[in-house]
């Protein structure tokens, strides 16, 4: 294999939605991410894989400054969204998190109605001029999240009364409702059964291209199924980043191969 260092930085065709350069993350004295440079492309779903504790979530949280909420966390290096430095003092973090939405491992709907869960973001960001427009956003978002058919007759029921898989799709609808550019998903299916998982994967497939998507997953088959680019992390470093089809059939690095073939520790 040639040029794997260059390969690590490139994100495929087209100009990158987000770039990261020489990113380091420290929790106090402990370094959790070591000099990671990666691009995230609009046309691709990017998967982050790697053993537990390798820093996937830490790195993902850098992309919308969720690490700011952890007092001992310190991030260095450069991260841009559409060429704009997201760590610059002029960056509005609330605005940033609307542009770079996040879906967590455990579905976390607000204890409000299904409608209000989805309408929440558009309301605080003033995205809808009136009731009709808000209704419209809620419906479109639920449709994109593949949930509309199941909830359209019970929009005023509590979001927490839905099944786990439905709650996760509600959270995705909530992220979509503010019309983000990037959606970060941290193990979004780990609490779901295979059918609910398949629905989320189908939904990722449906919305890809409209949003840049980055997904952290422990499920190798899931990474292979949903992503076009895969990044393998190990002990805080980026070991390999390339085409998903290549990573899973013919990885360049032995560490990647050992991990994805189940020969790891």
């Amino acid at each position: 294999m040639t040029n794997s260092k260059n390969e690590m930085i490139s994100a495929g065709d087209g100009s990158p939605k987000m770039t990261t350069r020489n990113v380091n993350v420290f929790y106090g004295d402990k370094q959790a991410i070591n000099d990671v440079s990666i691009d995230v492309n609009m046309d691709n779903v990017t998967a982050f894989i790697g053993p537990s504790g390798c820093g996937k979530s830490t790195f993902l949280r850098c992309l919308n400054r969720m690490n700011d909420t952890i007092p001992i966390a310190k991030v260095t290096g450069e991260i841009t969204l559409e060429g704009e430095d997201i760590y610059s003092p002029t960056m509005d973090v609330v605005q940033l998190r609307a542009r770079v939405g996040m879906v967590f491992q455990k579905p976390n709907p607000f204890p409000k109605s299904i409608y209000d869960n989805v309408a929440y973001g558009p309301r605080i960001h003033g995205l809808a001029a009136g009731k009709d427009e808000l209704d419209n956003i809620v419906e479109t978002s639920l449709q994109r999240a593949g949930l509309w058919g199941e909830v359209k007759d019970r929009l005023l029921d509590s979001g927490t009364a839905l099944s786990g898989g439905q709650q996760q799709r509600l959270c995705i609808a909530r992220a979509i409702a503010v019309d983000p550019e990037v959606i970060l998903m941290d193990e979004p299916c780990s609490a779901l059964d295979p059918i609910a998982t398949a629905k989320i994967e189908e939904l990722i497939h449906e919305i890809r291209g409209r949003y840049a998507i980055v997904i952290v997953t422990h499920n190798m088959q899931q990474a292979a199924r949903v992503s076009q680019r895969t990044a393998f992390f190990h002990l805080g470093t980026l070991v390999e980043y390339g085409e998903t089809s290549e990573i899973f059939t013919n990885p360049t690095e032995t560490q990647t191969r050992d991990y994805i073939t189940g020969r790891y520790g």
Partner: protein, 243 residues
């Protein structure tokens, strides 16, 4: 926790893979033996030995099916990735190719009773050397699989040219013999088919070698450049005679 490079965390996966490798070695050994026996039967006009080769082909067929079943099951249950996936796909394809090699040996054995005047067919003297190389290719391609040896696989691919050259010489010699001895045409035709079977065995060993190369490296084997071959067109007309 550190990468071990060899064993899987799930040990049962290794035992499936080892069982498959054992079966591939066995089907390879059996087909190699079938070639040797069929050639011995031909040289000695030994009809009993020829019948044995035909009967034993059933074992090769059964083995192919068992390999395919276990490969299929392993892929379904273990969802292999990277070199594991490549090896299992190669195993699946190799078992089919080796089974075909067995069929060619069987086809040679079936012709043994039809060649009664071996002593008068001059070109037959080239067959033992040709079959020796063809079986070497079969053995080496399967050794390459067992050792994941991409270099040996390349070597098999290269040496297949020798088998092709033998075939071309025999082809010309047989045609000449037919012209000079029209009464031998029937038996000489069988002789030509036997040479053709050996030539196909060489090609199949090359196919195995190509899969070994892919399994070992993840890349397709670089093409061997084939010189223009005067008998290619006639070859197509003769086509595959094996069953």
């Amino acid at each position: 926790m550190s990468p071990t490079g060899t064993e899987h965390t799930v040990k049962a996966f290794d035992s499936d893979i080892n069982e498959l490798r054992g079966m591939v070695a066995e089907i390879g050994g059996r087909s190699e033996q079938a070639i040797a026996k069929s050639m011995r039967a031909l040289e000695n006009h030994d009809l009993v030995l020829a019948a044995e080769v035909v009967a034993e082909d059933k074992l090769i067929d059964d083995l192919e099916k068992r390999i395919d079943d276990l490969t299929f099951q392993t892929i379904a249950l273990r969802a292999p990735m990277a070199d594991d996936l490549r090896e299992l796909i190669a195993t699946f394809k190799i078992s089919g190719v080796v089974e075909r090699i067995g069929d060619y040996a069987k086809n040679i054995a079936k012709r043994v009773p039809l060649i009664t005047q071996a002593h008068s067919l001059g070109p037959i003297s080239l067959l033992p050397s040709m079959s020796k190389i063809a079986s070497e290719l079969v053995r080496d391609s399967l050794d390459a699989f067992a050792r994941r040896d991409a270099d040996l696989a390349m070597e098999v691919n290269r040496r297949d040219q020798i088998v092709d050259d033998f075939y071309n010489s025999i082809f010309r010699a047989v045609i000449t013999h037919m012209i000079e001895n029209p009464k031998d045409i029937g038996e000489a035709a069988h002789l030509l088919f036997i040479a053709k079977n050996l030539e196909r065995i060489g090609d199949h060993a090359t196919n195995v070698a190509e899969m070994v190369y892919f399994a070992a490296t993840g890349e397709p084997m670089p093409e061997r450049s084939r010189g223009d071959n005067p008998t290619d067109l006639l070859d197509d007309a003769l086509s595959d005679e094996a069953d």
